[in-house]
Amino acid sequence: MPTKLETVQLSAFYAKKEAIHEVSLAFPEKTVTAIIGPSGCGKSTLIRCLNRMHEVTPKATTTGEIRLDGEEIHALDPVSVRRRIGMVFQKANPFPTMSVYQNVSAGLRLNGVRHRKELDAAVVRSLKQAALWDEVKDNLDGPGIRLSGGQQQRLCIARALAVEPEVILMDEPCSALDPIATAKIEDLIFDLRQNYTVVIVTHNMQQAARVAEFTAFMYLGKLIEIDRTQKLFENPAEKLTEGYITGRFG
């Protein structure tokens, strides 16, 4: 598998405080990679660096490199980077003033797509990919905010998919959901790897085991190890990893 996205010696700071330290990590194309680790280990910061969302926070900076298809993303326009690397947030954040249809098509309309047919097709495709179509197809013009929490998160996934990004970043997408809604989203993530490179941050190790081919373990801002998920959980190379997955700390 060729590498789609990689970080080289990436460090990230909030003002002077270092949140991640010299992380070098490669994400293979069309696979799901999970990043696990205890709270505060820098996994969310890392994922927010990948689409240059980190720098939106005042006084937040990075050093090191991030390459998308071999290209350094800091040399690109952040807007174009974010069109190629979509993001799903911890808390579902549909646009509350918009209908389901408008939410899903928002990114396309930003890109200047105006043809109704084109928008219709993209909305149907994205909602189906996000496994939400059957639940909302009769109420596309209803407000997105009226959906249940799990549906809202799938709506946000559909919104991210609609612009056809190459990479999808998910920052603990199920942390606010019940087990049934979580299972639906996990199934969905598993299917997404046919077309997308997925990076998912989670503090739920079972979730990583269920959806990801590769898993990276982070601790105190550093990458401890990355390996095939099964190998990492069954036979980790590092003592720290072993301690975390067996529940000795974290």
Binding site: V56, F89, N93, F95, S99, A106, G107, P143
Partner: protein, 278 residues
């Protein structure tokens, strides 16, 4: 107020609202020009101040460097607390000469053909001058409320728009303004309320002529400025009662305008969620 207005209420009936003559000497009282004056000055004031104040609020909360935000925001909010008579003095000292010397003559020469901007300009004290003073007065109010509403938009809404590949301006439009629009409308209505009722600053700059010529650069009168002008010198029961009735009309007009504005907002906010485009 009904009691105070009781001598004039039955005597003039609807003629009070639609009459154009205000003649205390002969006991004829009609306030149509003043109703128009109130609505027109407030309307123009909003036309000027809404884009200005919302623009300022967006700049301050979304785009200005952090060190600029608080000082400028503080100054704007301070302006909201300045007594209106001070604005009136500012209008007299600064705005009236400016209008008389440059703005009005320019408008007259450029647009004098239109009845809206023709005719004598009342020495700079006219409807337009009062409207500008009102605009300056309500801008801090609208701007402060808008800033609060923008600040209340959750960070994840901005980030949602950015993550779809929105530029900063697009994120402001797509996520922030739409989210905050109820609050922004609230600020506009608050500003409108202040403009409709403003008395002192208007009295000092509008020219106080009990007529509405149709031209914005002619002197005029609003309901509140008429009351302020004549209450102390009103003689006779009927005269005083007519002034009280103006107060009553002003109250009703303000109420009506507010209701219409609320309905408008309600329709926009509700309709927008379902049908409106971005």
């Amino acid at each position: 107020m009904f009691t105070g207005a009781s001598p004039s209420l039955p005597r003039f009936g609807l003629r009070f609202l639609f009459g154009v003559v205000w003649d205390p000497v002969h006991g004829i009282f009609g306030v149509a020009p003043e109703i128009l004056g109130t609505l027109v000055t407030s309307g123009i004031a909003l036309l000027i101040s809404v884009p200005l104040s919302i623009g300022a609020a967006i700049f301050l909360s979304e785009h200005a460097p952090a060190w600029l935000r608080d000082p400028v925001g503080y100054v704007i909010e301070l302006l909201a607390a300045v007594p209106s008579v001070v604005f009136g003095f500012w209008g007299l000292a600064v705005l009236v000469p400016l209008m008389q010397g440059s703005v009005d003559p320019w408008l007259q020469s450029a647009f004098g053909w239109s009845p809206l901007l023709g005719g004598p300009n009342g020495g700079g004290r006219n409807i337009l001058t009062a409207s500008v003073v009102l605009a300056v007065m309500v801008t801090p109010t609208i701007s402060a409320v808008t800033r609060e509403s923008l600040a209340a938009v959750p960070r994840d809404q901005r980030e949602a728009a950015l993550s779809l590949g929105a530029t900063r301006w697009e994120a402001t439009r797509l996520a922030v303004l739409r989210y905050a629009r109820t609050g922004i409308f609230g600020g506009i209505i608050l500003g409108l309320g202040r403009a409709l009722g403003e008395t002192m600053a208007v009295t000092m700059t509008i020219g106080n002529k009990n007529a509405f010529s149709g031209s914005l650069i002619s002197p005029g009168q609003t309901m509140s400025s008429l009351i302020a002008n004549e209450f102390t010198e009103a003689t006779g029961k009927l005269y005083v009662s007519a002034l009280v009735e103006i107060g009553l009309v002003l109250l009703l007009v303000t109420l009506l305008v507010n209701i219409v504005a609320r309905l408008l907002v309600w329709r926009v906010v509700r309709g927008g969620a379902v049908a409106g485009g971005a």
